[in-house]
């Protein structure tokens, strides 16, 4: 009898716990699974997004167009996006880790500095783009200053290579705040005893970082790399505000191509095919990074 009561209580408990997940599951399904499902469906259709003109099933036609890229519009965008993701991820993580090491101790100045460093992330990405356009544009603050000193202006946004480099730097400036917070949290979790022990054993600061702090940070590094790469892959708003994809197509990203070109021309089917491929690439990259980082994380467990 007692066993029956316990078993029933366990069942009810499990049922209650299961029911408790329904709100989150419903929100997730409604806001993520259903839209992605629709995107996958539309990617196999010719559709202009207007409900009274229903989609026409075209099979893999949209994917064939994306892969063949007959007018060479997506390929440059993929190259630009790859550069932003790779170079940006290195810069974001490098800057965030360096600053986190500088600001790890809790002092009034460091607390203030952390807020300042995080602040760019609070700003709308579009505002960030417009702000830096006003600073770095041909008649922006920096070039006006240079010209007033008799120096020739710099083509931050006028030359394709400069514009891409400028875009990456601005994106890094706007995004590294989150990674900084993650690294600060990760550093708090590094055992002070281990670091102290290493110092007592005669290790210098660099050696302590290399052999104790860095391995212990491995799980944090994985998270920051994955999150930064994912956000860099879908960068759009900053591009819109800073360069609007120009000059020419020099700073058009994959997301820009989807949102400002395909969707803007009512090519919802093509845009969805481009978006589905971006989601796939993001997923493959994330799992690859996680797999590659597994060994380093095992080392962290050993250090921990």
């Amino acid at each position: 009898m007692a066993r029956t009561t316990t078993s029933r209580r366990g069942f009810v408990s499990s049922l209650a716990n299961g029911l408790m997940t329904i709100p989150a599951a419903a929100v997730y399904a409604g806001l993520t699974v259903v839209p992605v499902g629709f995107a996958v469906y539309y990617s196999f259709t010719r559709y202009n997004g207007i409900p009274s003109q229903p989609p026409t099933w075209v099979g893999f036609e949209n994917y064939a167009r994306v892969i063949q890229d007959p007018i060479g519009d997506l390929r440059p965008a993929v190259v630009v996006t790859t550069l932003i993701a790779v170079v940006g991820a290195f810069l974001v993580n490098g800057a965030a880790l360096a600053l986190a090491l500088l600001l790890r101790r809790t002092t009034p100045f460091n607390t203030f500095a952390r807020v300042v460093m995080f602040y760019p992330h609070v700003l709308s990405a579009l505002i960030v783009g417009f702000l830096w356009q006003a600073i770095l544009g041909p008649q922006g603050a920096v070039n006006n200053l240079l010209e007033s000193r008799g120096t020739s202006s710099l083509p931050f946004l006028a030359d394709p290579d400069w514009a891409l480099a400028t875009l990456i730097v601005v994106i890094v400036w706007a995004q590294f705040g989150v990674q900084l917070v993650l690294y600060l949290a990760g550093l708090q979790a590094v055992s002070p005893e281990l670091q102290e022990a290493a110092r007592l054993d005669g290790a210098g600061s660099v050696q302590v970082f290399r052999h104790v702090t860095w391995p212990a940070l491995a799980p944090t590094v994985t998270v920051t790399i994955v999150t930064s790469v994912l956000s860099l892959l879908k960068v759009y708003d900053v591009v819109l505000g800073l360069t609007n994809g120009g000059p020419g197509d020099a700073t058009q990203t994959w997301a820009y191509e989807i949102l400002a070109v395909s969707f803007a021309n009512n090519k919802v089917g093509l845009a969805c095919a481009q978006a589905v491929l971006l989601v796939l690439v993001a997923g493959i990259l994330s799992f690859t990074i996680i797999a590659l980082r597994r060994r380093a994380e095992e080392g962290a467990e050993a250090v921990g």
Binding site: R8, R9, V12, S13, L15, A16, L19, M20, I22, P23, A26, V27, G30, R46, N48, G49, I50, P51, S52, Q53, P70, I71, G72, D73, G137, P138, Q139, S153, P155, L157, A158, D159, P160, A163, L240, T243, N244, G245, G246, P247, G248, D249, A250, Q252, V261, A264, N265, N266, K267, V268
Partner: protein
Amino acid sequence: MSTSFRRRARGAVALGFVPVLALAACSSGDASAETDDGSVRMLVNITDNLTQAKWEELVLPFEEESGIDVKIEGPSGQSVSESFPALLAAGTAPDVIESIVPGPDTAPELLDLTEHEWASGTPMADLYSTDGTINVVGVGMQEQSLMYYNADLFEEAGITEPPATWDEFDAALAALDSAGVATPVAFASDWATGVQIQQIWHPQQNLTTPGWQQSVADGSSTLGDQFQPVFEHVADWVEAGYTTADDVATDTGTQEANFIAGEVGIYPMGSWFSTTLAASPPDFEVGVFAPPVDDAADAPGPMGATIAFPYMVWKGTANPDGATALVEYLVTDDAAIAKQAEMDSFSREGLEPSDNEYAGLVQELSDSAPSYVVPGNQTVGDYALPVAGFNPKFTELAQGLWQGRSPADVAADLTAWYETEKRG
């Protein structure tokens, strides 16, 4: 079952239903039900000249007379052209749409206004109708092919007459450059680069190939062939340093300020720039001339022009009579037309001369044009190119001229783009 378990289970079930209930509450089976109160929603372009307050003032007499409440809405996206299809997709399209013309996708969603007698009498109704069907009406015409110039700088450079031919135009640019003018001819970034090049090219293009859009559409000409000559002119100006890569990274607002500050010799732009000039009059004399043509005997060539204040009515509106009455008021009422002319300059037969001296210059030039032609970026009517997104792609490719790309390559890419888009 303990009380706490029952409470948790009930709470969980209730929580599970919250999103479902919320979704049900937020969704609406009939999007047009929003205007069942008899009001009319109008999506408009909001700019420095066309402010929300000015739109409200414009429709106020109509509201007072008809008792219909008009709700003015700005674009939810970057522009009306981007917002309208998105609102259609969301099922929340406005009743009246201003500032854009129908495209291949949106045309079936619009009310046919042909049966209304007043519609056929509106300016440019013939150029913007497709096979005689009118689904967009406007109040006048905005001239596109205009070259604003700084007359003081022209005088300093020894230019006695505005150029009429390409040779004279090149000579004028060389003279301005020699006189030390910072920017002999100014182009701007984003949409403006493409629009400005087309504005310059309308007259000669339509002299060489009248109805060129139809020639491209029927395959007797290519888009690249149509624009390669003007690309060659622009490439020559870039090479000579009359315009630099900085220009196409500078927004129109800044470039217009540069013109007003006296740093620009020639600024190609539409008639709406005259409103900006009137708001901030420069301390030098401004002139306007028609873009160059090959032969002086053909000058001035056909004037590129677009419909001013285009209005369309959504077919799905819950209040078609109210929406149509509003559009009729906006395009036929004399006071409403005069108010719109104050908001953004345009030409219209019989319209009282404007106090705006710059608009007067534009009107004078417009009156001398032998004919009016619609530009390539117009997506409606018998002269529409059968593809969407022409100007953004044209701009993207044309900006390559400032990065050293050859006119032939840019023209070839334009043709390739058109052929791909035409296939769908």
